[in-house]
Symmetry: C2
Subunit: 499 residues, 2 copies
């Protein structure tokens, strides 16, 4: 009997671990999951959590009195104010009957009450019921009108799918695109590692195209062609290209001309475009504006009506910054009806995205208008946030450029700086000994010395032999000065120590 | 040049469709996605949406004046009241400073204000910031205390992962378990099709075990053994067993003894248990109570400390019914640390589940207590909802059993009835001609004649040669009478037409 059981255990192909046979261990979990890496929340974050716990317990032995999380684009945790109108509407839709209470008029502006009534009347079952798997129709209509105003081209609510933030939308797109390990997706290097992680999880191949650091992180179509050739020479089918505009972590903002070249290239090579446009409100550089891939594509006319495009947006970024809300959408442009049906089915397996995230998308795309009670407050909050981000970006870029051996491109858009650092040979050796990439070693030392959490460039990919880190531009203005002061001191010490 | 482009297009292995070459079509999408089926939101729902649109436009040509959605467990769309306390807390946490306004005391009970302050103080960045990828610590602690009270065994907040409803938790578990097409998951027949869909999407094999309709949809371990043998004989590694308790669509409620047998079986066969316990509050049958797999497992003592269990719960069901909130959690029991790390990483790629869904989980597991201002109202709402569900279940089961050729087991728990219907030979032929399963044909005719939406048994799996449909027990009490009246009339007509 025992032998029989042991045999059965072996037949189930499980693993002998310290605690006996187990079905699911690090060795027997789906290897695609193991392969996936996500540095934004990796080892550094775990250590920073540990430091936070120690500080919270009153531990005075650390060389800093607080942890400053510059690792993740999470504005509201760094004192950015949420847009008041949006929050008021959320409060009002949640309590049945509240909009009709007389006291409510003292607490909430008229337009927030009106908007709440609109959602209450138009969202069947309210915020607590499953909605349509593609998202509530009235919100998809708000998004379509926003896209129409933005691009000056029609947008169809039926092509808009509301999602729990942009991340699951990207993941579902890659799930639909990747059939097996021979399917490849073009992704920028450096890139936000959602792409590499989701490609790994779905068992596909990532073919990297390098952004040109010497040329303000520009995207050169010749480099795209090189990458496609590399992928095809390796026997891969290059199905799609991920492009992040404005860039994460690189901050570049693509021109309409550049986007047109990319679209022509993808048309010639029959490559679907995944346009991550979650930072479309975050453009700071003089003379730069955000132009959507959809607009450029439609401007190019009928000849390009079969270039397939999926674009992503989110409530987490911009000046909305409502990350925890998990609101987002994707627009399917020139996508085959049969494929659209498959997306709809995929989303229906998850029933629907969270309704309050959907409402946040509605308010982001349909904010208070001139004449509305909340308009002035909305504009003040919006402009205040964007101007502060612009100032902080400039301040950080300037400071980083003054560090020994560091160069840092302008943050044209998005929420990050991505300085290139020179790591002395002795530090490279010390990192090797510690089993870490040199820039991860640098970032870990920065955390240990200053409490500042940034993400090493190796988590995003970078040209071989170069090292970087990504820091958000989100700390409140007084904290930015502190970040700079501490970084300057740390960097000088680090360089001296390993000189 | 043209020839060269055409060659490139062929090299990218795309498909010629009516609108030219396209990367993503129904024929070139990931075939695992195509394979997935999800009947709860399939063809019937699309037609019901069409009818709703026609009714909304004033179309008087239909033989009914409203669509009654009995296809999906979506209580708040059918007039179930949300728990007021939970909604009040959500309203208060969303507007910064609102809890301190004097008018607020007139509108909200004291305990809701207190709870909102607790969440405001304990959730870093509030509802609008990314939280910990496993979920906010203070909510995970609420869940752990709930589990401890429920099971009388310790629960560790570190083993609790908050998720956007139970569905993504199930999907992530299957993603971790399924390495390739040789990995099999045991799933009940009939079953809620999330399991079959997610197994297909992840490229694994489903091995079905039949629930015993003649024996109140009982789960017989001998049938489990048969299924495991079938899977292994086909060369599959049977990695895990999905069990839904109380059952969906079948409503059975497992006894502690039955659960103990299942655990012993899974221990002997080295199979991980996925326990879907989202209906744990929904038990109606006399003498039946919900017992969790965790409790039985821990009661069995140390010898079973290596049986691996992942259990799922949700805010969508029970008497909470907050489906649109997408709140849920999974508890990992006896899971290897390395595998837990992989789950954590998987969740971190998606950053975090939506914070308000997390708060709803917190309030579901930590509701008002005796002495709190909201306690009486909470209890009245809770008991009112559960008693109404119990009455409606009994009413529907009785009515279905009185139909010609129909038998229907008691709804011991969950939110559904699953009657077995006899379909006359002529109707089976007509269905064949229409390219539909006979029970799908029956359900479509029911929709066309009555506006009632139910789901055919073929969407859940059923013993060959038997036909069923699933109807929720959720319509408000007056509508249940209408559903019964219309169903009785439709059924008689259908039987007469095809006799």
């Amino acid at each position: 009997m025992l032998a029989c059981q042991a045999l059965k255990k072996l037949r189930s192909a499980s693993f002998l671990t310290s605690r006996g046979f187990a079905v699911l261990t690090a060795d027997t979990v789906n290897p695609n999951v193991v392969k996936a890496e996500y540095a934004v929340r990796g080892a550094l974050v775990l250590r920073s959590n540990e430091y936070e716990d120690r500080l919270a317990r009153g531990d005075k032995s650390l060389p800093f009195d607080k942890v400053i999380p510059c690792n993740i684009g999470n504005p509201l945790v760094l004192k950015q104010e949420p847009i008041e109108f949006h929050r008021q509407v959320l409060a009002l839709v949640n309590v049945p009957g509240l909009v009709d209470q007389p006291e409510v008029k003292k607490l909430f502006p008229e337009d927030a009450i009106e908007r709440a009534k609109f959602y209450i009347d138009n969202i069947v079952g309210g915020t607590g019921a499953y909605g349509h798997s593609k998202g509530s129709a009235c919100v998809r209509e708000e998004v379509a009108r926003f896209l129409q105003r933005r691009d000056n081209h029609p947008a169809d609510p039926e092509d808009i799918y509301l999602t729990d933030g942009a991340s699951p939308a990207v993941q579902n797109s890659l799930l639909a695109l990747i059939r097996d390990e021979n399917d490849a997706i073009l992704a920028p290097i450096p890139q936000y590692p959602l792409y590499s992680a989701a490609i790994a999880i779905n068992g596909g191949a990532l073919v990297g195209y390098y952004l040109d650091e010497e040329n303000a992180w520009g995207l050169d179509v010749k480099e795209l062609a090189r990458a496609v050739k590399e992928g095809r020479d390796a026997g891969k089918t290059v199905r799609a290209m991920a492009v992040i505009n404005p860039g994460n972590p690189t901050g570049q903002c693509l021109s309409a001309e550049n986007i047109e070249e990319i679209i022509k290239f993808c048309n010639d090579e029959n490559i679907l475009i995944l346009a991550d446009e979650v930072y479309q409100e975050n453009v700071y550089a003089e003379g730069k504006t955000f132009v959507s891939f959809k607009k450029v594509l439609r401007d190019m006319g009928k000849a390009y009506d079969d270039v397939e495009l999926i674009s992503f947006h989110s409530t987490s970024k911009g000046f909305t910054g409502e990350c925890g809300r998990r609101g987002g959408y994707m627009e399917l442009v020139n996508i085959d009806d049969g494929a659209k049906d498959q997306f709809y089915k995929l989303m229906s397996v998850n029933l629907c995205s969270n309704i309050e995230g959907q409402l946040m998308v509605g308010m982001m795309t349909n904010p208070p208008q001139p004449g509305d009670a909340s308009y002035k407050r909305y504009v003040a909050q919006r402009d205040g946030t964007l101007e502060a981000l612009k100032r902080r970006a400039a301040k950080l870029v300037k400071a980083f450029n003054e560090l020994e051996g560091v160069t840092c491109n302008e943050t044209e858009g998005a929420m990050y700086t991505f300085p290139k650092i020179t790591i002395p040979t002795k530090a490279v050796e010390a990192a090797k000994e510690a089993g870490m990439a040199p820039d991860a070693f640098y970032c870990m030392q920065m955390l240990d010395d200053t409490g500042i959490v940034v993400v090493p460039g190796s988590g995003f990919g970078q040209k071989e032999g170069t090292w970087h880190f990504r820091s958000t531009i989100l700390p409140p203005e007084e904290a930015v000065d502190e970040v700079i002061e501490k970084t300057v001191k740390f960097h000088a010490n680090f360089m001296n120590k390993y000189r």
